[in-house]
Amino acid sequence: MSNSTTSRGGGTQTVSSPREGSPSASGPTGRAPRPEWRQRLTRLDVRLSPYLYISPFFLLFLVVGMFPLGYTAWVSVHDWSLIGGKGEFVGLDNFREVLGNPYFTKQLVNTISIFLLSSVPQIVIAVVLAALLDNQLRGRTLWRMSILLPFVVSPVAVAIIFGSLYGDRYGLINELLGYVGIDPIGWHTERWASHVAIATMVNWRWTGYNALICLAAMQAVPRELYEAAAIDGAGRVRQFVSITLPMIRPTMIFVVITSTIGGLQIFAEPRLFDETNARNGGSDRQFGTITMLIYDFGWQLRDLGRASATAWLLFVVICAFGIANFLLIRRIGALGGDR
């Protein structure tokens, strides 16, 4: 890395262990005034270095973040083929086509449905799990590690494994249901059943992770609050509702927002759950998602214009959900009783 192009205004002292005023063995201990050019270099060093250190992030973000954002808008108002490149300016035609496409509506509903099925139960379970872990357990670290195990399995692998568990004819889940006398469920063919199956994968992978985040917040709650509440005669459940939940609200907002940004972009799980040849989310796209539609438009139909328009629409949906979440959590937290 040629990042050390900054001037060496420092002479020859080493700072192996920077104790204050450790006089170097050689050299004068009293600071002789440095030459003029040295001082100027040092000043420059102090002024410019911070910008130099943060510049890699900003430069890269400009290229792979900022520029693509603006450029997505530019591509979305053109006829733009994957092979032929840029074509005519078509205004809002791409948006019109996407919004008029029946699959768009269907896959938007699928995306939201899978998102709700995977985030609401997940957050509830994560909070309960965190409360269980917020005890004086034996082998604390082991328990914490064990609930994190699913997190190291990639979404692709999770989808393949659960795809087999949820096999329509011979899957383990349907076999188990058979033991209690329930008819096999068409996990891959029925729309809502497939959403449940895909949501299970997301929940399996992320619940432990989010539980640890909640646990960190719970451990920051002052223990005296619980003691005071206990003296006032509050039971454990009451303590949890009136103290724990309001205290971890900021963290909950964080968890919900990050789950939303990630959850609405879901792609790997439904794609690998699909066993049809087209792999667009089932025979009638009963579990296709918006990101799958972006992929379909862009890299199967080779129409980057429509893919970009879809990406923008997804962005709008994510923003709307993010804001709605934020408001909702604030309300829920406010009911927690921190008067």
Partner: protein, 272 residues
């Protein structure tokens, strides 16, 4: 709520543990039986002896070793790059005074909220222009330095490096880069290890962008698994043996560094 937990707490946690491990065991179990047994639904509860023969078939079906090599390379390079550049930037935001520091940091945090898939089309066009599509360069570039990394390092270094130390080194006439190298970098080590792990995992498990950017002949392991599943979905013994094999590297990482992962998640949650 500090009380000695009873059987109920341990029981619920144990149930959770079983639920966490069961799908992985299932994957290994089906992968260790013959094609015929795996196709008949629920196999015996104990593994059969065919795991390696199934895994060999999986390896022959997709460019498995090449994919593992690609994933290792991409994840390692990006993790090292992220640690270096994010520590530098995080240090600047945490300890150096410069004009525009506040607004720039807010900007970095704001970029974390931008969905990655929004820019995927132009990113593809851009990589095509550079002639990088098809090579793993196109997968490495977008990950070289991350907003999350900058923010995470900044949060850590604010408390980990005493201002007096930076000041003292400066009074001693150290150049900025030496102060960073001798004062900030050693202090950043624990957080750097965590950031390295997380970046490695994130890049290893990433799927959407590599699927778009890479051809079938030069995949990452996730893209290779995608091929494995699409061609042979009826042969679960083969597919799950391959999937299990592909999961092993991260499981090893988990066994070695699970403690750091837990610590990292619990630290990253503290919002400044």
């Amino acid at each position: 709520m500090t009380r000695r937990p009873g059987f109920l707490v341990y029981g619920l946690l144990a149930a959770f543990l079983v639920g966490s491990a069961a799908p992985l065991y299932w994957s290994f179990l089906l992968g260790s039986h013959t094609k015929e047994i795996a196709a008949q639904g629920v196999p015996p509860l104990l593994p059969g002896g065919h795991f390696w023969s199934n895994a060999e078939r999986a390896i022959a079906t997709i460019p498995f070793w090449k994919a593992i090599g690609n994933s290792l390379l991409v994840s390692t390079v990006t993790a090292c790059s992220v640690v270096f550049f994010c520590t530098l930037a995080g240090y600047a935001f945490a300890k150096l005074r410069f004009r525009g520091r506040g607004p720039l940091l807010v900007f970095v945090i704001a970029t974390m909220a931008i969905p990655t898939q929004l820019g995927v089309v132009p990113l593809f066009i851009l990589m095509s222009e550079f002639g990088w599509t098809g090579s793993i360069t196109s997968v490495i570039i977008p990950w070289l330095v991350t907003a999350f990394g900058v923010f995470f390092m900044r949060q850590y270094l604010v408390d980990a490096v005493p201002d007096e130390l930076v000041e003292a080194a400066r009074m001693d006439g150290c150049s900025q880069i030496r102060i960073f190298w001798h004062v900030a970098a050693p202090a950043a080590r624990p957080a750097a290890a965590i950031l390295w792990l997380f970046t490695f995992m994130q890049v290893w498990t990433d799927f959407f962008w590599p699927l778009i950017a890479l051809p079938h002949s030069n995949p990452t392991i996730q893209v290779a698994l995608n091929q494995l599943q699409s061609g042979f979905f009826k042969d679960y013994s083969l597919v799950l043996a391959g999937t299990t094999l592909a999961t092993i590297p991260l499981l090893v990482l988990f066994v070695v560094a699970g403690r750091q992962l837990v610590a990292g998640i619990m630290q990253g949650a503290v919002k400044g």
